[in-house]
Amino acid sequence: MSEIDEGLRAELQRQGVWVTSMQELYNWGRKNSIWPLQFGLACCAIEMIATAASRYDIARFGGEVFRPSPRQADLMIVAGTVTKKMAPQIVRLYNQMPDPKYVISMGACAISGGPFKQGYNVLKGIDRYIPVDVYIPGCPPRPEALLHAFMELQRKIDSQKLTGATKAEHLTAAQPSEFPVPAFGEHDLEPPANPNVFQPPKVEREG
């Protein structure tokens, strides 16, 4: 699949011929119909609801079809504090979503545990168990921030290749689309993080 020369395409368009590629058409359709999974965990969900309502209107980006079933959803917006009791259910929902699937980690809690980070009951970020595409900081992030994340995700989808060595990860058979669900342990979740998904930053001490 070769890239079309922009000048040639513009010239052809002037003559009434619209040239595209399978990849562009496919990604154009995908990025403008991202259906989010309908669930919220905490106060960030209120901002997510505001984003979906008329003032901010996520329908302008094709994301208004919040699905009540993971089997029909493309995008998981983790909106709020992920407690350790809730984390296995989040991973299970993610596993039930069909590929290609994307995750937005919305707000300080979903990123790192936020203000509750050292709490005994709060997960230190959903990226310990599932891969995250876009992180939005904020407590909670404003609807504009969620729209920005949505546009970033659209940009990512638009740039994904369908073939070749650099094709999208979900098109590689070896790439896992399901991740192990953590178990409830006696003191903590087991394991506390999935090492294949998450590695804490290393603090290197020199000298």
Partner: protein, 224 residues
């Protein structure tokens, strides 16, 4: 509404064998509470709810307190004869109090529009004797909150019909609100550790005081 002393006097007169202590409160609010003995707790609770003058029909809040072993210092002025002169001297006595768990109930009356009356119950210790009578048969609203105290403090409520963990998962064995609770060591890294987190960070990294605060932090690239 009656004062806690009046409630205590009437309850003890109405119910034979009942002993109620008044827990002092040194704070500006001076809100006294009634410490009821576990054996007669249900009878006292029923009295508080059904007594026509009190009618404490609404239990708004139940919470727990963990008291560790502690020593209380009391200073008393004592007259002593020193060198033939009589002087007032401060004498400090130390009293050791062994730890216990406490359940605190805040009661209001919807019909009489008064409250709160605070009642407390204490366990005998923090290990074996962590049992208290459940007041759920008297106030239904105590059900979930007693479950929460069981979950977070480990108090077992006798007579509670459904005493399960409510916030933590069933497999969890600790009681996180106890003062001697130590959470699972899930330290990963902190870019700017301080206070307690710094202490924990030091357990995981060898301290190098000459480089303190000059660590080079790099994120591990998973895909690269």
């Amino acid at each position: 509404m009656e004062s806690p002393e009046q409630i205590k006097a009437r309850a003890e007169a109405a119910l034979p064998g009942v002993k109620i202590d008044i827990v002092p409160n040194g704070s500006p609010s001076r809100q006294l509470s009634l410490l009821i003995d576990n054996e007669h707790a249900l009878a006292v609770a029923r009295f508080l709810r059904d007594d026509l003058a009190l009618r404490l029909d609404f239990c708004s809040n139940v919470t727990g307190i963990d008291w560790l072993d502690r020593t209380v210092k009391k200073t008393v002025k004592v007259k002593k004869t020193i060198d033939g002169e009589e002087k007032e001297v401060d004498q400090t006595t130390e009293e050791k109090i062994s730890g216990y768990l406490e359940a605190v109930y805040h009661l209001y009356s919807m019909t009489q529009k008064h409250g709160p009356v605070v009642i407390r119950m204490r366990t005998t210790d923090r290990a074996e004797g962590v049992r208290l009578p459940s007041l759920t048969p008297i106030w239904r609203s105590a059900e979930f909150q007693e479950r929460e105290i069981f979950d977070l403090y480990g108090v077992r409520f006798d007579g509670h019909l459904d005493l399960r963990r409510i916030l933590m998962w069933d497999e969890f064995v600790d009681h996180p609100m106890r003062k001697d609770y130590r959470e699972a060591d899930d330290y990963e890294y902190e870019p700017t550790p301080h206070d307690d987190v710094l202490e924990r960070a030091k357990q995981h990294y060898a301290p190098r005081p000459q480089l303190d605060g000059a660590e080079k932090i790099t994120a591990t690239d998973l895909h690269g």
